[in-house]
């Protein structure tokens, strides 16, 4: 892709690398990775992207990247950057196309042995109840445009009010499942047209619902408090704001290309286009982004509800006995206005997390009461054949990374390479032989999402754990997966 540009890199310790400030950079770059990973990371242009982000006006601290860093549009995936509210910028490319793509984890009262013989049936039921693939949606969920505006304003609360879930669910969702400042008027008609039939659908690519179990416990005390004891059955939901979020991003890239010219912001890459946080364009984007983020929260709430219904249908048990409760729900493509300590001063800043997760420590005011002593659960999905992790946020993350950590595995193979690697193999049969039942709307998706196409998520998690920006609680293993 284009010319190869090299970026200077200095090793700080086994887990961190510095990209020293040079040229137009306003600050250093900081990358979390181990020796082996950094070699892979250097193969694409993602480090240059870290350096590019460092050139943007009003950046605070360093331009950072988590160990799952890979090449993105403008900002790298795995990128974290905070900006001063008065002098800084907001960039749609720093959030990504799938606004509030994120993960929700539910625990249950069931153990692995309770469901072992019914995984097939469960996966089929989930596949039937949760729309995935082109054009599919629930016949019993039809929205008017007015109602869609309520979704954009209220997020998960909209779904709960209509009986999809319980009031407690919101307690355990980042930002309470509704980001402040949403304004549906800032979302284009086109975005609403794309989003309206897609609320309550999984979408394609790497999105999934995964039934699994707690395979390994690293911190038994915390695991018990989160209801994640060994062998307990869990559900992970990974999806975002669908076509609505993509359209909001696309609409605002155009606005920001124009705004960058108008405000005289020098861009090393068009996809870094941005506007001052204090400008009309900046404020309008934040209002549209919050609306799209709320759509995603409602989406995960609906899918979680149909997951609960699927369990009830298969196991003929009531909601209480099943105990499918939300452990937490995190965003991993978002820009948030948060208060952070900046050089000894409490300051409101705009933190962009693109393929990165918030990781707040114990005692943080944004955490629910029952997690005050623990810290924020961080959910790290892996690929469909291996495992996922639950971590906790730490004080060190708050100090060093504006309270942020990694978000997942990250691809190592292109879709084309994955296809070549999977040639002639039946992916679903191969996974079934490992005890994982998979259903996907398209064979193509399954092939492109083979486990080998991803980095081993345990390597990624190892780095953030050792670097102290989150700590391991449990590892989850999949039993059944539905893919879009």
């Amino acid at each position: 892709m284009g010319e190869k540009l090299t970026v200077k890199l200095q090793k700080i310790d086994p887990w961190r690398w510095l990209i020293p400030r040079e040229g137009n950079m306003k600050t250093d770059g900081l990358v979390y990775a181990d020796q082996r990973m950094i070699k892979d990371i250097q193969k694409d242009q993602s480090l240059l992207q870290v350096a590019n982000v460092a050139t943007l006006p009003g950046i605070l601290g360093k331009s950072m990247a988590m160990p799952d860093i890979h090449w993105g549009y403008g900002f790298p995936i795995g990128g974290v950057a905070a900006f001063d509210m008065a002098t800084g910028v907001v960039s749609p490319g720093g959030v990504g196309y799938d606004i509030n793509c994120g993960v929700r984890l539910m625990r249950s009262g069931l153990c692995r042995k309770d469901i072992q013989n019914k995984v097939h049936q469960l996966v089929d039921t989930l596949f039937r109840n949760i729309p995935s693939g082109v054009g599919s949606h629930r016949k019993d969920l039809k929205l008017s445009f007015q109602e869609l505006d309520r979704v954009l304003e209220e997020g998960a609360y909209w779904a709960i009010k209509r009986g999809y879930g319980s009031a407690d669910d919101r307690e355990h969702v980042e930002a309470g499942g509704c980001i402040d400042g949403a304004n549906p008027q800032m979302v284009s008609d086109r975005a609403k047209e794309r989003g309206r039939p897609q609320l309550g659908t999984l979408g394609s690519g790497n999105h999934f619902v995964e039934v699994g179990y707690v395979d390994e416990v690293y911190d038994p005390k915390v695991a018990e408090k989160l209801g994640l004891e060994k062998d307990k059955v869990t559900v992970l939901v990974h999806t975002g704001s669908r076509g609505l979020g993509h359209q909001v991003c696309d609409d605002f890239i155009r606005v920001m290309l124009e705004a960058s010219r108008r405000y005289g912001i020098e861009l090393p890459d068009k996809q870094l286009c941005c506007a001052p946080l204090d400008s009309l364009e900046g404020k309008n984007y934040l209002a549209a982004m919050a609306s799209a983020a709320n759509f995603a929260f409602a989406n995960r709430q609906l899918i979680a509800h149909w997951t609960r219904e699927s369990f009830e249908q298969v196991f003929k048990m009531g909601p209480k006995a099943l105990g499918l409760e939300v452990v937490y729900d995190v965003c991993h493509n978002i820009a948030k206005i948060e208060t952070h300590d900046v050089q000894g001063e409490k300051k409101k800043v705009c933190v962009h997390r693109k393929g990165a997760t918030r990781a707040f420590p114990p005692g943080h005011s944004e955490l629910p009461l029952d997690y005050q002593a623990l810290g924020q659960p961080v959910l790290i999905p892996g690929d469909m054949g291996r495992y996922s992790y639950v971590l906790l946020g730490t004080e060190k993350a708050l100090q060093d990374t504006f309270g942020s950590t990694c978000h997942g595995a990250g691809r190592v193979m292109s879709r084309h390479e994955a296809k070549r690697a999977a040639q002639g193999k039946s992916i679903s049969k191969e996974l079934e032989s490992k005890g994982i039942i998979v259903r996907g709307a398209s064979r193509e998706t399954l092939v492109e999402e083979i486990p080998e196409a991803y980095k081993d998520v345990s390597d990624v998690v190892h780095v953030v754990h050792e670097a102290g920006i989150s700590k391991k609680v449990v590892k989850l293993k999949p039993l059944g997966v539905i893919k879009g």
Binding site: H70, W71, V134, G135, E193, R194, K270, R415, E444, T445
Partner: protein, 139 residues
């Protein structure tokens, strides 16, 4: 016949390099490449048509707008296109017609879904008399 476009390997998404002897052919081939990511073009019959009249501040933005029309029509109306005729193209304006049909699951096995047409490293250039551009589709 010269190649209309070729796919390029890209870790998370799909890239395509599109060629054309003039800009009209470049835009035409870009449309074909878009639908070739989604589906086998042979599977699309011509039962419907749509007219397009688009404006953008520059040629590159116009190209993204042109392809975004297809994304929008596919997601909101299930329309797939296989034939394109560009009647008028300037730096800031495009007029065209496309023919195709509505998506049905049985007739149209979808290879992969495009979620966005990006501006990443997008530049339309003329090299040795041939117009060329690279487009990255977000999947």
């Amino acid at each position: 016949m010269r190649k209309k476009f070729r796919f390029i390997d890209h870790t998370a998404d799909v890239g395509v390099v599109v060629y054309g002897k003039n800009l009209i052919e470049l835009f035409h081939n870009a449309a074909e490449s878009f639908f070739s990511v989604l589906i086998d073009l042979k599977n699309i019959r011509e039962t419907e048509s749509r007219r397009f009249s688009l404006d953008a501040p520059g040629l590159e933005e116009l190209l993204v707008s042109w392809l975004n029309e297809f994304l929008y029509l596919f997601e909101t109306q299930g329309l797939l296109f296989s034939r394109f005729e560009i009647k008028n193209l300037s730096k800031k304006h495009l007029e065209a017609t496309a023919w195709g049909e509505k998506y049905t699951a049985e007739k149209h096995p979808i290879k992969r879904i495009i979620k966005a047409v990006t501006f990443h490293q997008l530049s339309i250039q003329k090299q040795k008399g041939i117009w060329e551009t690279q487009i990255i589709f977000d999947l």
